[in-house]
Amino acid sequence: MTNSDERVTIGLPSKGALADPTLEFLSSCGMKVKQPNTRQYTANIPIMPRVDVVFQRVNDIILKVVDGTLDLGITGLDVVAEHTDPESEVIVVYEDLQYGGCKLVLAVPEAWLDVETVADLVDVALDFREQKERNLRVATKYPNLTRSFLTRHGLAHFTLVSAEGAMEAAPAMGYADIICDITATGTTLRENNLRPLADGTVIDSQACLVGNSRRLHESNAVRQTALTMLEYIEGAVASGGRYMVEADVPAESAAHLAEALANWPGTVILPATMVGAGGPWFTVKAEIGTRELLALRSALHAQGGQTVLVPPMRYRFAPDSESRQRFLGLLKHE
């Protein structure tokens, strides 16, 4: 299908920890989302006119990408892992959008001083079976990931208790013994007298971009949209923590100046004319990371350089994109 007016539907988080950061992130990448009305569940991205934005909960986004109702979506890697298996029609287009970081952890009551590792928990689960004649009860919103983690670690006798919200209270209320839940800082766990197990991290998660693999294959529009987003995202993500430094510096010759700036290979030196000032001048342009910023500033000023300009870097496009190659490779292997 190469229908030129074909629409592409993308799901964005409507509420929760990923909602506002996603809009900020897209805007910082140059893909500002325009909501005609904040009460509506649809929006558009003016720079990509054929894209329709639909606001959904993170869980619904992945489920709808799986069934093809949504072509693309931004959601958490944790819910992607929970709701898909290698047979699902889903491709993770970009795995780490560098925000929304959190992890899914097993946490036990603080008072369980004897339980420090998953191996301890295996032992306690067997105690429950033998002494209390019941399974260890684990409250979680992530049954698939939790089940798979526990069995992989040899914990067989458990029962999953599904819970929506306020899960941290489950052990205190007694309807579960331990929990498996998302935490970003650990504060909520601590406030509820819960402690994550040292080796109990089920998955490290953050925001990611996913697409329905069938739609990516069938529809040129969906594929092109994914590639365009990938390019914007990668350009912006790669520019994070990088600076373009520019300064005008007097010097005997370009070679002299190059020698003084030998610590910053790749720096470009251009002949310049400084109106009202004599002698040869050069414009120095260098791309560096945060940590080198002050050292370079000192070196430039030591050479007699004028004001050192460091404008914010919006994008940084490499000649060939690794994630673009990875994505195209994934598509091919489907």
Binding site: P109, A111, W112, L113, D114, S148, A156, A172
Partner: protein, 498 residues
């Protein structure tokens, strides 16, 4: 929104069986069931859906991750991953007061969520036999023998029967003064000891995770098993008010802290037990060679296992059954989580370690766990139909298409056509009624190689006859409508003549 008009395909990991395979399956099931019937096993049938808990209680670690389950109004339902748990439940609910031993068999599909990419199908049929309320060499050898008889009945004679003994190993491990929990943890590693790329180093690492003492901040100098110390520790825990303890009492937590500390001191015993288990895991061979070696290893490690004599008797009795190739492999790890005596598996000659045609073992504790009112020893086995059919390889003939195609030329001729068809079917013939007119019927018979087409039209009906066309010879003759038997006789003689 996407138009969802693409065709609905079979879910990944499931197979269709077309006629030849379906026929082969039906035949093999009948052969296996017949073999079990000769040992006086009586059929029962249990539902494919049970409480998920039933399967998880039996052997949690093996199934928890592979069980197809779903929730219906708060009840967790699972699709059976094997037949034993269902039969065990059926026994507890229906047969506890019946005279024992009880011999039961069941047949049906089981369901397992195998990881994507594995060659195994996610639904496959099993034929299962359980001998409930019997223990000892006679019962053990019977189950081993009927496993072999079944495979032979299905047409596989070059199988290899591999026998291990979980109960014997557990019994010997008791001699190392380890706590019972650790004995089970060690046993679970049996297969890893002999698996390529794993071995004793890997296993030591796995087991030692259970031997980490309490970290320093929570460790106390505890005199060995001092009850007074334990109680004061639990008082301290209580007074700390660390918040809700999630269904464990401070006393339980204190007890386990001390247990951890005691366990950390068991490391030398652990390493001795591991060395023993490692030697055992690599012991395999003919029964006559393995038994003396087994005695030697037990002696060398200073442990004892009373089961060894009964095991020797079982192997002796098995000889009287005159079964195929038998190997004893003490490292056979199949089902170590719930078996309590012998465990075994039968393999196809060409297949790898996963190509099991059948497997089973003794499970003396399960029925009690399921609520039996007394100790009930039991042993059982299951045949894996899919693997058996793979091993048979020979192409099975499906029953062919119809031998007769009957064409009623007009609606009024239908009743006569139906009566004739029924008469022929009563004689054991395969008969198909044509849906379309004469031209379509002849084309259909030609494509499906149906040898005889019977035509009934107004003339024939009035004369009380029908016309029969031999498709191969392009001949035609008429015959009385009410003489199906005579027709078959005539066809047999003419077929024999040509």
């Amino acid at each position: 929104m996407t138009a969802n008009n693409h065709f609905i395909s079979r879910p990944i990991g499931l197979r269709d069986k077309l006629s030849a395979q379906a026929a082969a399956l039906t035949r093999t099931i009948a052969q296996l069931e017949d073999a079990l019937t000769r040992f006086a096993y009586r059929p029962v049938e249990t539902p494919a859906l049970e409480s998920a808990e039933l399967f998880l209680t039996k052997s949690g670690d093996e199934w928890a991750n592979r069980l197809f389950s779903f929730e219906m109004y708060g009840r967790q339902i699972g699709l059976r991953p094997e037949l034993t748990a269902g039969i065990a439940r059926l026994y507890v609910e229906n047969f506890q007061h019946h005279p024992k031993p009880l011999r039961l068999r069941a047949t049906g599909p089981v369901f397992r969520y195998e990881s994507p990419g594995r060659a195994t199908s996610r639904q496959f049929p099993q034929v299962d036999a359980e001998l409930i309320g019997a223990s000892g060499p006679a019962a053990d050898s019977e189950i081993l023998a009927l496993t072999c008889r079944g495979l032979e009945a299905a047409g596989i004679t070059d199988y290899r029967l591999v026998i291990g003994h979980v109960g014997l190993i557990l019994s010997a491990l008791r001699g190392f003064q380890l706590d019972q929990r650790i004995q089970r943890v060690l046993l679970a590693q049996l297969e890893n000891l002999r698996r390529e790329g794993r071995g004793i180093g890997y296993v030591r690492e796995q087991v030692e995770r259970f031997y980490a003492g309490p970290s320093e901040e929570v460790s106390a100098e505890a005199p060995n098993g001092d009850a007074a110390f334990e109680s004061s520790l639990s008082h301290i825990l209580e007074s700390l008010r660390l918040g809700p303890v999630g269904n464990r009492t401070p006393a339980e937590i204190a007890a386990r802290l001390l247990k951890k500390q005691r366990r950390a001191r068991q490391k030398p015993e652990l390493h001795r037990a591991l060395a023993f288990l490692n030697e055992l895991a690599h012991l395999s061979g003919k029964p006559g060679d393995v038994l003396p070696e087994l005695h030697r290893i037990l002696g060398a490690h200073g442990v004892h296992a009373g089961e060894i004599d009964a095991f020797a008797q079982t192997l002796d009795l098995l000889e009287a059954y005159e079964v195929g190739e038998v190997t004893v492999e003490m490292g056979l790890g199949r089902g170590v989580a719930y078996y309590t005596g012998i465990n075994f598996a039968a393999y196809a000659p060409a297949g790898g370690p996963n190509a099991q045609l059948a497997s089973g073992g003794r499970y003396d504790e399960l029925l009690r766990l399921f609520g039996a009112n007394q100790e009930t020893p039991a042993i059982g086995m299951a045949f894996y139909l899919e693997r058996i059919l793979d091993a048979l390889e020979t192409a099975h003939d499906a029953p062919g298409h119809a031998r007769f195609l009957i064409v009623a030329l007009d609606g009024a001729d239908r009743p006569a056509a139906i009566r004739l068809a029924e008469a022929l079917r009563a004689e054991g013939e395969r008969v198909e009624m044509a849906e379309r007119g004469i031209r379509g019927a002849l084309g259909h018979a030609d494509k499906l190689e149906i040898p005889y087409v019977i035509l009934i039209g107004e003339d024939e009906r009035k004369a009380g006859t029908f016309a029969l066309r031999k498709m191969t010879a392009h001949e035609q003759f008429t015959w009385p409508l009410d003489d199906a038997a005579g027709l078959l006789e005539k066809l047999t003689t003419t077929e024999a003549a040509s």
